[in-house]
């Protein structure tokens, strides 16, 4: 076997209180696309950061072309041809694409005068954009006006400009549309053909199957196994990731809801401020999970925000249990029992700096107070029940919620609302950034809620989740309902056809 491009040998990394990496081995060959898979907290990001010089390993070594190397800084790694592309992109939004491509290493002429070599830069920039399949005109555009997918490509182009031999990508497709994702796959294929290696973290198993040659699975900071391209299957990956077989990834204990059940929540002819010019009508029945599919930007989140009172409703009506419901602000929706688990958990769902208990209490304080004062005993009871019933992994209710893993954070968001006894639960991307183990738990929770008669309206871009959890699916396209699919009609092609606007 030839010498691998880069190799981690027995790498250890200790953080206060956590052994993030415990003797991890991993190698990447030239022109290979390697997937790193694992639950949240398995050590994937730490491994990438060690390879890219963000962290220094506490033990073991990193070898480049067979020679032990030390990257004291990310810049040192970049000079050696290892570039990390962050989950949160590191581009200066206010500068042009061209400026970003050469930020910090602008070609200059005129010796000590260091004048910018405008012409040379533009030529070099065009070549880079060409390699990632962006039009050369994009050079003069401001990064802020690009779509997330384009930004990602600019970041890749920048790494290529540094003559990168290995690109490390941390969940590159988490914020991309399907089209952008396909484009990224094509670019990865091109890079691979050009001899560039790619290391790739992803939670989307279908994606790994599509573009990776090999998958290394991490669990609790150790190697859990390795799969060749032929072995990459959903079941194999999940088994290695969680260390056990997941009998039922999508539990379903609830009885089917008869079609003549009166709806719990009904929207008819709804429009909202700054929304699309179409009206939307839909109904959710008690005990059913209504899946809502659509491309990014189809107006799904905006619609749910209008129903929750975050966007002013301008026309149409909302009916809850047959009675008209007037929602002017989120407080009205919360009082009525129409509750939203928002898409952006960190910005909207939680006060990250505050404790688990603080967050669990926040929407329930009215019920926990007598007059002005909060009843501490009842509050403690609420915290204990919430943590126990959702199996939130936290040392105590006083732990800052931002320190928990994504899955446990999401459970806290659910816990906030469960204590109120929801009638309608709107879930916007309920498992984004959540590891596989916690995903199953959340699916079981959704099933349980529906079985108890809650009407669940689930917005999701995860096709597996949509097909696995929903009883019925509505698809949105450019702000209007493009169609509805019963469970018996559900399949990926049917959903995609509606979502892309094909009739």
């Amino acid at each position: 076997m030839s010498t691998p491009l880069i190799e981690a040998v027995g790498v250890r990394k200790q953080f206060p209180g956590v052994l993030a990496l415990d003797g991890v081995n991993c190698r990447v060959n030239r022109g290979e696309v390697l997937a790193i898979v694992g639950e949240n907290g398995a050590g994937k990001s730490t491994l990438m950061k060690v390879l890219a010089g963000v962290y220094q390993p506490d033990g073991g070594e990193v070898r480049l072309n067979g020679e032990p190397v030390k990257f004291p800084t990310p810049q040192a790694a970049m000079r050696a041809g290892v570039s990390l592309i962050h989950q949160e992109l590191n581009l200066a939004e206010n500068l042009s694409v061209l400026d970003n491509l050469f930020l910090g290493r602008e070609p200059t002429v005129g010796g000590p005068l260091r004048l910018l070599d405008r012409r040379g830069t533009i030529a070099a920039g065009r070549r880079l954009l060409e390699r990632v399949g962006l039009p050369p005109d994009d050079l003069s555009r401001t990064v802020g006006e690009l779509a997330p997918g384009q930004k990602q490509l600019v970041e890749i182009a920048r790494a290529l400009g540094l003559d990168a031999k290995l690109l490390i990508m941390d969940e590159p497709t988490s914020s991309l549309t399907q089209k952008e994702t396909d484009r990224l796959y094509a670019v990865i294929d091109d890079l691979k053909a050009g001899g560039v290696s790619v290391m790739y973290i992803s939670h989307r198993l279908a994606e790994i199957k599509r573009c990776c040659d090999r998958a290394v699975v991490l669990r609790d900071g150790k190697n859990a196994g390795e799969l060749t391209k032929a072995e990459i299957t959903h079941d194999n990956l999940v088994r290695l990731m969680v260390g056990r077989d997941l009998k039922s990834f999508f539990p379903r204990t609830r009885p089917p809801v008869p079609a003549d059940t009166p709806p719990l929540l009904e929207l008819s002819g709804l429009t909202y401020r700054n929304g699309p010019p179409h009206t939307v009508s839909l109904a959710v029945r008690p005990g059913e999970v209504l899946g809502m599919a659509g491309l990014v930007g189809a107006g799904r989140t905006e619609l749910s925000e209008a129903v929750f009172g975050l966007r002013p409703v301008t026309g149409g009506s909302i009916t809850l249990e047959g009675k008209p419901l007037r929602i002017r602000r989120p407080g009205d929706a919360v009082r009525a029992g129409v509750l939203l688990v928002p898409e952006d958990r960190r910005a909207h769902g939680l006060v990250l700096e505050q404790s688990v208990g603080f967050n669990l209490s926040l929407p329930n304080l009215g019920r926990l107070s007598t007059g002005l004062l909060i009843r501490p005993r009842d509050e403690a009871k609420l915290h204990a029940e919430g943590i126990a019933s959702l199996r939130v992994k936290t040392p105590s209710a006083r732990q800052a919620v931002g320190l928990l893993s994504g899955g446990n954070q999401q459970k806290v968001v659910f816990g906030k609302w469960l204590a109120r006894g929801p009638k309608v639960l709107i879930l916007d991307e309920p498992t984004r950034g959540v590891d596989v183990g916690a995903k199953t738990e959340i699916y079981a929770l959704i099933d349980d809620l529906a079985a108890r008669g809650v009407a669940v309206w689930m917005i999701t871009s995860d096709m597996e989740e949509l097909l696995g959890v929903s009883d019925r699916v509505v698809v949105m396209h450019e702000g209007r309902l493009a169609g509805e699919l019963a469970r018996s009609q559900l399949n990926e092609e049917a959903v995609m056809r509606l979502a892309t606007g094909a009739s």
């Binding site: 953080f15 206060p16 209180g17 929750f308 975050l310 602000r329 989120p330 407080g331 929706a333 919360v334 009082r335 939203l340 928002p342 910005a347 909207h348 769902g349 939680l350 006060v351 990250l352 700096e353 505050q354 603080f358 209490s361 926040l362 929407p363 304080l365 009215g366 926990l368 107070s369 002005l372 004062l373 909060i374 501490p376 006083r398 906030k416």
Partner: protein, 434 residues
Amino acid sequence: MNEKVKFGAALGGGFAVAAGVWFATHTYHDPKDHLPAPWSEATLTAWFIAAAVAVGVLAYSFELTRRNLQRLAGVTLLLGGLLAALGYSGHQKVQENEPLIDTLTSRIERLQREGNTAEATDLREQVVKLQQNPAFGRTNVFEKLNRHGEYGILCIGAGLLILAGGIDLSVGSLVGLAAVLFGVLVEKGVHPFLALPAVLAVGGTVGLIHGLMVTQVRVQAFLVTLCGMFVYRGLARTISPGSPGMVRAQEVWPDFSAPLMQLRQWLTGIGADERLGFPGVFVLMLVLAAVAAVFLHRSAFGRYWYAIGYNEQAARYAGVTVWRHKVAVFAVCSLLAALAGVIRFLGAGSVTPSSEGQSFELYAITAAVLGGVSLKGGEGTAVGMVLGALVLPVVNTLMNFAKIPSEWEPWLIGLILLFGTVADELIRRSRGGR
């Protein structure tokens, strides 16, 4: 910790403090200087009980989290150091008096030998006075506590607002406007008991306008209150080009003289004989702090304010009507500034429209930050605000006693604030946080 144990300890602590103050005020004064006429035992008892209950409530409401304790430890250490320095400089004064004390002592002995006991007793009292550490003398302590009270009232308002993610730069100007407005009203013959609520209403309204500008028109709080800073100062100077004063009001409206004195005694502790019989502003501040502590740490309001301060969107998505709460804290901040203005007028007897309350907004913010309120919002405690507000008066006293030129005060304060915030940041980082 068990809530009951905490409650008992807090209440016990409150009473212990009050008993201590009681003991001090009843034994530490000049024997000739008996309680002046308006200071009945009943009045004093009411003050003590108010102070004790306030201390108890403050202690009981305090949330025993590690971060809160850490922040308190910081400001307590700072205050401890400053007080030790103060005590030392006072002690040096006593030592300077040593030769005089010796002379007096030998005279007393001579007088006693001569049988002139009356004169000897008089002299002995003088010696006792000279031997006392002047830094902790009653008059000085009371004056400084009242100063602390003024800063504290402003700091509670500014602290609550900063905690909920706002900022108010108009506090100082509003103190000036309220002081001048109160003075003008009483000079024009408005009954003092009516003028007080009127001024407070003006303060509250000003705060409401700030809040509505910020939440509805969406102008940045910094900008709105910066404009306010100029506007209120200008208004104060417009409605009264000269300095309104209490003496003139009493001359023109002799009928209102008594109620004015009454109000002054209750709010500041200055009796009809113009002597500071009790630190009234300090006790008033403690009571306000206790109320703030209950709201902040024991009620849903406080939770909402913390949530809004950290992450306004998360609060909104949890069903909190964010704008109402923001308007409310803006109103509270301005209301307390107006109250402080009235107290300044009553305490000083006359105010200068162009300078009254100048840069108090910065003192309030400094005190809040020293007390552990994060300018980023979402962090801080009521007890911290009270202790933070104590730093500036203590520094000020220290400067007087250690004969440090007053020109040094601004840069000393600046360095203390810088040192405090840097230390806090380093502690936070060392704990492995982000």
